[in-house]
Symmetry: C2
Subunit: 151 residues, 2 copies
Protein backbone atom coordinates (compact mmCIF):
# COMPACT_ATOMS: atom_id res chain seq x y z
CA UNK A 1 0.00 0.00 0.00
CA UNK A 2 2.68 2.44 1.02
CA UNK A 3 5.10 3.12 -1.84
CA UNK A 4 8.45 4.82 -1.75
CA UNK A 5 10.12 6.87 -4.44
CA UNK A 6 11.86 3.92 -6.03
CA UNK A 7 8.55 2.15 -6.42
CA UNK A 8 6.97 5.24 -7.90
CA UNK A 9 9.82 5.51 -10.37
CA UNK A 10 9.63 1.82 -11.18
CA UNK A 11 5.90 1.81 -11.77
CA UNK A 12 6.24 4.96 -13.80
CA UNK A 13 8.99 3.40 -15.90
CA UNK A 14 7.04 0.23 -16.43
CA UNK A 15 3.93 2.09 -17.48
CA UNK A 16 5.72 4.50 -19.74
CA UNK A 17 7.83 1.84 -21.40
CA UNK A 18 4.68 -0.22 -21.84
CA UNK A 19 2.94 2.62 -23.65
CA UNK A 20 6.01 3.16 -25.77
CA UNK A 21 6.25 -0.49 -26.75
CA UNK A 22 2.52 -0.59 -27.46
CA UNK A 23 2.98 2.46 -29.65
CA UNK A 24 5.62 0.64 -31.66
CA UNK A 25 3.49 -2.48 -31.93
CA UNK A 26 0.47 -0.44 -32.95
CA UNK A 27 2.43 1.37 -35.63
CA UNK A 28 4.04 -1.75 -37.03
CA UNK A 29 0.73 -3.58 -36.96
CA UNK A 30 -1.01 -0.70 -38.69
CA UNK A 31 1.38 -1.01 -41.62
CA UNK A 32 -0.21 -4.39 -42.24
CA UNK A 33 -3.72 -3.47 -41.11
CA UNK A 34 -3.37 -5.50 -37.96
CA UNK A 35 -4.55 -4.42 -34.54
CA UNK A 36 -2.57 -4.92 -31.37
CA UNK A 37 -4.74 -7.89 -30.52
CA UNK A 38 -4.35 -9.48 -33.93
CA UNK A 39 -0.61 -9.02 -33.62
CA UNK A 40 -0.64 -10.68 -30.26
CA UNK A 41 -2.76 -13.56 -31.46
CA UNK A 42 -0.35 -14.18 -34.31
CA UNK A 43 2.56 -14.16 -31.88
CA UNK A 44 0.86 -16.71 -29.67
CA UNK A 45 -0.49 -19.00 -32.34
CA UNK A 46 2.88 -18.91 -34.04
CA UNK A 47 4.03 -22.01 -32.19
CA UNK A 48 0.88 -23.36 -30.57
CA UNK A 49 -2.54 -24.70 -31.55
CA UNK A 50 -4.73 -23.45 -28.73
CA UNK A 51 -8.44 -23.98 -28.46
CA UNK A 52 -10.67 -20.93 -28.81
CA UNK A 53 -11.53 -20.91 -25.13
CA UNK A 54 -7.93 -21.28 -24.00
CA UNK A 55 -6.84 -18.44 -26.22
CA UNK A 56 -9.67 -16.26 -24.98
CA UNK A 57 -8.75 -16.99 -21.37
CA UNK A 58 -5.10 -16.26 -22.02
CA UNK A 59 -5.90 -12.94 -23.67
CA UNK A 60 -8.48 -12.04 -21.06
CA UNK A 61 -11.19 -11.75 -23.69
CA UNK A 62 -14.66 -13.16 -24.00
CA UNK A 63 -15.07 -16.12 -26.31
CA UNK A 64 -17.44 -14.15 -28.47
CA UNK A 65 -14.75 -11.53 -28.94
CA UNK A 66 -12.36 -14.19 -30.05
CA UNK A 67 -14.83 -15.55 -32.57
CA UNK A 68 -14.83 -12.22 -34.35
CA UNK A 69 -11.08 -11.85 -34.09
CA UNK A 70 -10.42 -15.25 -35.61
CA UNK A 71 -13.14 -14.68 -38.21
CA UNK A 72 -11.34 -11.64 -39.52
CA UNK A 73 -7.90 -13.23 -39.46
CA UNK A 74 -9.28 -16.31 -41.18
CA UNK A 75 -10.94 -14.18 -43.84
CA UNK A 76 -7.51 -12.71 -44.54
CA UNK A 77 -5.91 -16.10 -44.81
CA UNK A 78 -3.65 -15.67 -41.80
CA UNK A 79 -5.30 -18.17 -39.47
CA UNK A 80 -7.53 -21.19 -39.82
CA UNK A 81 -9.84 -23.20 -37.63
CA UNK A 82 -9.51 -26.92 -37.13
CA UNK A 83 -11.23 -29.65 -35.14
CA UNK A 84 -9.94 -30.67 -31.75
CA UNK A 85 -8.87 -34.30 -31.60
CA UNK A 86 -10.26 -34.97 -28.16
CA UNK A 87 -13.37 -32.79 -27.89
CA UNK A 88 -15.94 -32.47 -30.63
CA UNK A 89 -17.20 -29.20 -29.22
CA UNK A 90 -13.81 -27.55 -29.37
CA UNK A 91 -12.10 -25.66 -32.18
CA UNK A 92 -8.36 -25.15 -32.43
CA UNK A 93 -6.72 -22.14 -34.00
CA UNK A 94 -4.00 -22.74 -36.57
CA UNK A 95 -1.63 -20.38 -38.31
CA UNK A 96 -1.36 -20.60 -42.09
CA UNK A 97 1.88 -20.37 -44.05
CA UNK A 98 0.98 -16.85 -45.05
CA UNK A 99 0.29 -16.00 -41.42
CA UNK A 100 3.59 -17.44 -40.36
CA UNK A 101 5.54 -15.48 -42.93
CA UNK A 102 3.78 -12.28 -42.02
CA UNK A 103 4.42 -12.85 -38.34
CA UNK A 104 8.10 -13.29 -38.91
CA UNK A 105 8.31 -10.12 -40.93
CA UNK A 106 6.28 -8.31 -38.29
CA UNK A 107 8.48 -9.33 -35.40
CA UNK A 108 11.64 -8.40 -37.25
CA UNK A 109 10.16 -4.96 -37.78
CA UNK A 110 9.29 -4.65 -34.13
CA UNK A 111 12.85 -5.45 -33.24
CA UNK A 112 14.12 -2.81 -35.66
CA UNK A 113 11.61 -0.27 -34.42
CA UNK A 114 12.68 -0.85 -30.85
CA UNK A 115 16.37 -0.72 -31.67
CA UNK A 116 16.77 3.05 -31.27
CA UNK A 117 15.44 2.75 -27.74
CA UNK A 118 17.45 -0.27 -26.67
CA UNK A 119 20.56 1.15 -28.34
CA UNK A 120 20.69 3.74 -25.58
CA UNK A 121 22.01 1.02 -23.33
CA UNK A 122 25.41 -0.58 -23.25
CA UNK A 123 25.49 -4.30 -24.05
CA UNK A 124 25.80 -5.38 -20.42
CA UNK A 125 22.98 -3.03 -19.47
CA UNK A 126 20.80 -4.62 -22.10
CA UNK A 127 21.60 -7.96 -20.62
CA UNK A 128 20.75 -6.78 -17.12
CA UNK A 129 17.50 -5.21 -18.28
CA UNK A 130 16.50 -8.37 -20.11
CA UNK A 131 17.12 -10.40 -16.97
CA UNK A 132 15.23 -8.04 -14.70
CA UNK A 133 12.25 -7.92 -17.02
CA UNK A 134 12.29 -11.67 -17.18
CA UNK A 135 11.97 -11.76 -13.41
CA UNK A 136 9.14 -9.26 -13.39
CA UNK A 137 7.08 -10.84 -16.12
CA UNK A 138 4.78 -13.33 -14.57
CA UNK A 139 4.20 -16.71 -16.08
CA UNK A 140 1.01 -17.65 -14.30
CA UNK A 141 -0.95 -17.47 -17.53
CA UNK A 142 -0.12 -20.61 -19.36
CA UNK A 143 -1.66 -21.92 -22.47
CA UNK A 144 -2.44 -25.55 -22.12
CA UNK A 145 -2.52 -26.22 -25.83
CA UNK A 146 -1.33 -29.66 -24.90
CA UNK A 147 -2.12 -30.58 -21.31
CA UNK A 148 1.48 -31.12 -20.21
CA UNK A 149 0.85 -33.38 -17.27
CA UNK A 150 -2.55 -34.20 -16.01
CA UNK A 151 -2.68 -34.33 -12.28
Amino acid sequence: MAADNTDDALVDGLVRSAFQVMGVLTRVGAEYDLSLTQLRVLGIVRDRQPRMSDLAAFLGLDKSTLSGLIDRAERRGLLARGPSPDDKRAVVVLITDAGHELTQRLYAEVQDALAPATARLAPEQRHTLAQLLESVVSLPLQLKSRPATRR
Copy 2:
Protein backbone atom coordinates in the same frame (compact mmCIF):
# COMPACT_ATOMS: atom_id res chain seq x y z
CA MET B 1 19.19 -5.55 -38.58
CA ALA B 2 21.13 -8.47 -37.17
CA ALA B 3 20.10 -9.24 -33.62
CA ASP B 4 21.82 -11.45 -31.10
CA ASN B 5 20.30 -13.49 -28.32
CA THR B 6 20.49 -10.73 -25.77
CA ASP B 7 18.56 -8.43 -28.06
CA ASP B 8 15.98 -11.10 -28.69
CA ALA B 9 15.58 -11.60 -24.97
CA LEU B 10 15.39 -7.88 -24.36
CA VAL B 11 12.77 -7.25 -27.01
CA ASP B 12 10.86 -10.24 -25.77
CA GLY B 13 11.00 -8.96 -22.20
CA LEU B 14 9.93 -5.48 -23.21
CA VAL B 15 7.02 -6.77 -25.24
CA ARG B 16 5.86 -9.23 -22.64
CA SER B 17 6.14 -6.79 -19.77
CA ALA B 18 4.30 -4.24 -21.89
CA PHE B 19 1.41 -6.65 -22.43
CA GLN B 20 1.40 -7.48 -18.75
CA VAL B 21 1.30 -3.84 -17.69
CA MET B 22 -1.41 -3.14 -20.27
CA GLY B 23 -3.35 -6.03 -18.84
CA VAL B 24 -3.17 -4.49 -15.40
CA LEU B 25 -4.16 -1.08 -16.69
CA THR B 26 -7.03 -2.56 -18.66
CA ARG B 27 -8.31 -4.45 -15.66
CA VAL B 28 -8.05 -1.52 -13.28
CA GLY B 29 -9.64 0.78 -15.84
CA ALA B 30 -12.45 -1.68 -16.43
CA GLU B 31 -13.37 -1.52 -12.75
CA TYR B 32 -14.29 2.08 -13.38
CA ASP B 33 -15.56 1.63 -16.93
CA LEU B 34 -12.54 3.35 -18.36
CA SER B 35 -10.64 2.23 -21.43
CA LEU B 36 -6.88 2.20 -21.67
CA THR B 37 -7.02 5.38 -23.69
CA GLN B 38 -9.29 7.14 -21.22
CA LEU B 39 -6.93 6.10 -18.45
CA ARG B 40 -4.00 7.48 -20.33
CA VAL B 41 -5.76 10.74 -21.08
CA LEU B 42 -6.56 11.18 -17.40
CA GLY B 43 -2.93 10.54 -16.51
CA ILE B 44 -1.75 13.14 -18.98
CA VAL B 45 -4.33 15.80 -18.29
CA ARG B 46 -3.76 15.32 -14.59
CA ASP B 47 -1.15 18.08 -14.50
CA ARG B 48 -1.48 19.76 -17.89
CA GLN B 49 -4.04 21.69 -19.94
CA PRO B 50 -3.23 20.59 -23.47
CA ARG B 51 -5.11 21.67 -26.54
CA MET B 52 -7.12 19.01 -28.36
CA SER B 53 -4.69 18.85 -31.25
CA ASP B 54 -1.63 18.59 -29.01
CA LEU B 55 -3.21 15.79 -27.06
CA ALA B 56 -4.18 13.98 -30.24
CA ALA B 57 -0.65 14.29 -31.59
CA PHE B 58 0.84 13.06 -28.34
CA LEU B 59 -1.44 10.04 -28.26
CA GLY B 60 -1.00 9.37 -31.96
CA LEU B 61 -4.72 9.68 -32.59
CA ASP B 62 -6.77 11.62 -35.07
CA LYS B 63 -8.44 14.77 -33.77
CA SER B 64 -11.82 13.33 -34.52
CA THR B 65 -11.02 10.37 -32.30
CA LEU B 66 -10.11 12.72 -29.51
CA SER B 67 -13.37 14.61 -29.89
CA GLY B 68 -15.30 11.46 -29.07
CA LEU B 69 -12.95 10.50 -26.28
CA ILE B 70 -13.28 13.86 -24.58
CA ASP B 71 -17.02 13.91 -25.24
CA ARG B 72 -17.49 10.72 -23.28
CA ALA B 73 -15.21 11.76 -20.44
CA GLU B 74 -16.91 15.12 -20.27
CA ARG B 75 -20.34 13.49 -20.18
CA ARG B 76 -19.13 11.57 -17.16
CA GLY B 77 -17.91 14.69 -15.44
CA LEU B 78 -14.24 13.69 -15.48
CA LEU B 79 -12.95 16.23 -17.96
CA ALA B 80 -14.07 19.57 -19.30
CA ARG B 81 -13.37 21.75 -22.28
CA GLY B 82 -12.23 25.35 -22.00
CA PRO B 83 -11.23 28.15 -24.34
CA SER B 84 -7.62 28.73 -25.23
CA PRO B 85 -6.37 32.15 -24.18
CA ASP B 86 -4.35 32.79 -27.30
CA ASP B 87 -6.24 31.06 -30.10
CA LYS B 88 -9.97 31.33 -30.55
CA ARG B 89 -10.05 28.18 -32.66
CA ALA B 90 -8.41 26.06 -30.00
CA VAL B 91 -9.95 24.14 -27.11
CA VAL B 92 -8.05 23.10 -24.02
CA VAL B 93 -8.81 19.97 -22.03
CA LEU B 94 -9.20 20.34 -18.28
CA ILE B 95 -9.57 17.77 -15.55
CA THR B 96 -12.42 18.21 -13.07
CA ASP B 97 -12.15 17.63 -9.34
CA ALA B 98 -14.00 14.37 -9.75
CA GLY B 99 -11.63 13.38 -12.50
CA HIS B 100 -8.64 14.22 -10.39
CA GLU B 101 -9.85 12.17 -7.46
CA LEU B 102 -10.63 9.22 -9.67
CA THR B 103 -7.23 9.43 -11.31
CA GLN B 104 -5.47 9.34 -7.98
CA ARG B 105 -7.45 6.32 -6.87
CA LEU B 106 -6.79 4.67 -10.21
CA TYR B 107 -3.04 5.12 -10.08
CA ALA B 108 -2.83 3.87 -6.52
CA GLU B 109 -4.63 0.74 -7.69
CA VAL B 110 -2.26 0.31 -10.57
CA GLN B 111 0.64 0.49 -8.17
CA ASP B 112 -0.96 -2.13 -5.94
CA ALA B 113 -1.81 -4.34 -8.89
CA LEU B 114 1.76 -4.19 -10.11
CA ALA B 115 3.22 -4.83 -6.66
CA PRO B 116 3.19 -8.64 -6.89
CA ALA B 117 5.31 -8.41 -10.02
CA THR B 118 7.79 -5.82 -8.78
CA ALA B 119 8.04 -7.55 -5.43
CA ARG B 120 9.91 -10.35 -7.15
CA LEU B 121 12.92 -8.07 -7.21
CA ALA B 122 15.18 -7.02 -4.39
CA PRO B 123 15.16 -3.30 -3.57
CA GLU B 124 18.41 -2.57 -5.37
CA GLN B 125 17.19 -4.52 -8.37
CA ARG B 126 14.05 -2.43 -8.45
CA HIS B 127 16.23 0.64 -8.42
CA THR B 128 18.36 -0.66 -11.27
CA LEU B 129 15.32 -1.61 -13.31
CA ALA B 130 13.75 1.80 -12.78
CA GLN B 131 16.93 3.45 -13.99
CA LEU B 132 17.32 1.24 -17.02
CA LEU B 133 13.72 1.77 -18.05
CA GLU B 134 14.17 5.46 -17.64
CA SER B 135 17.05 5.30 -20.11
CA VAL B 136 15.05 3.29 -22.59
CA VAL B 137 11.92 5.39 -22.51
CA SER B 138 12.22 8.11 -25.05
CA LEU B 139 11.09 11.61 -24.35
CA PRO B 140 10.83 12.91 -27.89
CA LEU B 141 7.09 13.32 -27.57
CA GLN B 142 6.55 16.41 -25.55
CA LEU B 143 3.33 18.18 -24.83
CA LYS B 144 3.68 21.87 -25.30
CA SER B 145 0.77 22.76 -23.07
CA ARG B 146 2.65 25.96 -22.37
CA PRO B 147 5.15 26.83 -25.07
CA ALA B 148 8.20 26.90 -22.81
CA THR B 149 10.41 29.08 -24.91
CA ARG B 150 9.44 30.34 -28.26
CA ARG B 151 12.24 30.24 -30.69
